[in-house]
């Protein structure tokens, strides 16, 4: 990794007291040269106290915005502070900082505007449950139909974005379950989106933001949002 490049890792954190310290410590240990920023989305547990106690870099949202608004806040911060690459990484230990290089390099080299860490390219590590894979396959197909780009791991929240992409996300970012929508919006706006193989772990504690009960709502909401995005975002072709 070039030493000149400024890299910021965004770590969304909502009630992650069980994982957040481990996640940040591991990141600092493996990638001491990158900056990080934990975004505490108004957690109701001890997350905020832990962040303060350890003296970590963090943003403290005064009201709960949900993952979309929280991460967007990180993109606004990154855009304002001139970071070359902004990485989004979950705070629950699913994403391994060891693979940070793998997703940052294509963006740094200028090959991609957004590089998504995908667990389905090499099919190693934790592959999530069967039902979720069906859902992910469906959304992946839908994005392919709507913009002609094949992305396998559409719900992966482990992704690196270049400067222009970061600035775009600082202006427009989906609200509730933003990962698939962000891919479609980026493709339609003419950014180059691609994937790099990574290995993910099962979350180490706490509860996922998408419970099984909510998954039907999730699928309907995301599908509808994708169609609306396709209708509302003007297609840009960058040569």
């Amino acid at each position: 990794m070039q030493t000149k490049a400024k890299i910021l890792v965004l770590i969304p954190c909502y009630n992650e007291e069980a994982n957040i310290v481990k996640t940040v410590e591991r990141l600092r240990e493996l990638c001491p040269e990158v900056d990080y920023l934990v975004i505490n989305d108004c957690s109701t547990d001890r997350s905020a106290a832990l962040l303060k106690e350890h003296g970590y870099e963090y943003l403290d949202l005064p009201v709960n915005l949900g993952i979309g608004g929280g991460i967007q806040c990180g993109y606004v911060y990154a855009a304002a502070n001139g970071y070359d690459v902004t990485v989004q990484m979950d705070g629950d230990g699913q994403h391994d900082p060891a693979y940070l290089n793998a997703i940052v390099t294509p963006v740094l080299e200028g090959k991609l505007d957004m590089c998504i860490g995908s667990r389905f390219i090499r099919r190693e590590g934790f592959q999530t449950s069967f039902m979720r894979r069906v859902g992910i396959r469906f959304l992946s197909g839908m994005i392919f139909l709507l913009c002609g780009r094949r992305v396998l791991d559409v719900t992966s929240g482990f992704r690196a974005t270049g400067r222009a992409m970061t600035e775009y996300f600082a202006r427009h970012y989906a609200a509730d379950y933003p990962e698939p929508e962000a891919i479609l919006a980026a493709c339609l706006a003419g950014f180059r989106v691609g994937e790099a193989p990574v290995v993910m772990h099962e979350r180490q504690g706490g509860v996922s933001s998408i419970s099984s009960f909510k998954s039907v709502y999730y699928m309907i909401k995301v599908s509808l949002s994708l169609i609306i995005d396709r209708l509302s975002i003007k297609r840009v072709h960058k040569s």
Binding site: I39, L59, D60, V63, L65, G69, Q72, C73, V76, A80
Partner: protein
């Protein structure tokens, strides 16, 4: 339409109109959002004062009972008001999201400035003394 019913309609429309004006006067509602309500109450008032209008409208679109036409129109109006409220809420949500984000980023800056201040008073005062 009986006289009693007509009087009741006029009274109802007037009360609605007065409520809207009182709310406006006390600043509980902005003019922007009062316009739709004002339209609704004015149309109701016209219907109540001149039922002939309703009869003409009824003949135009073949509704059996004139009163059903009034109900239908009112329902459409209420739908419009609800839609406008949903739009307003969405805009407010977007604005409050932006404010929250700006606030969080400022809070981090303040925190860092305070930290820097706490660490450096000696350096600042040092050269003077």
């Amino acid at each position: 339409m009986t006289d009693k019913f007509q009087a009741f309609m006029i009274l109802g429309a007037l009360v609605l109109l007065v409520i809207i004006f009182v709310l406006l006067k006390h600043g509980k509602m902005t003019v922007k959002y009062s316009l739709l309500w004002m339209c609704l109450s004015l149309v109701l008032l016209v219907f109540a004062l001149f039922p002939y209008v309703v009869y003409v409208l009824r003949d135009l679109i073949d509704v059996e009972m004139p009163v059903n036409l009034v109900f239908m129109l009112m329902f459409c109006f209420v739908l419009l008001v609800l839609l406008s409220l949903s739009i307003a809420i969405s805009q407010l949500a977007e604005k409050s999201k932006r404010l929250t984000q700006a606030n969080a980023i400022l809070e981090k800056r303040v925190r860092e400035l305070e930290k820097a201040l706490r660490q450096s008073p000696d350096e600042k005062n040092g050269p003077k003394s």
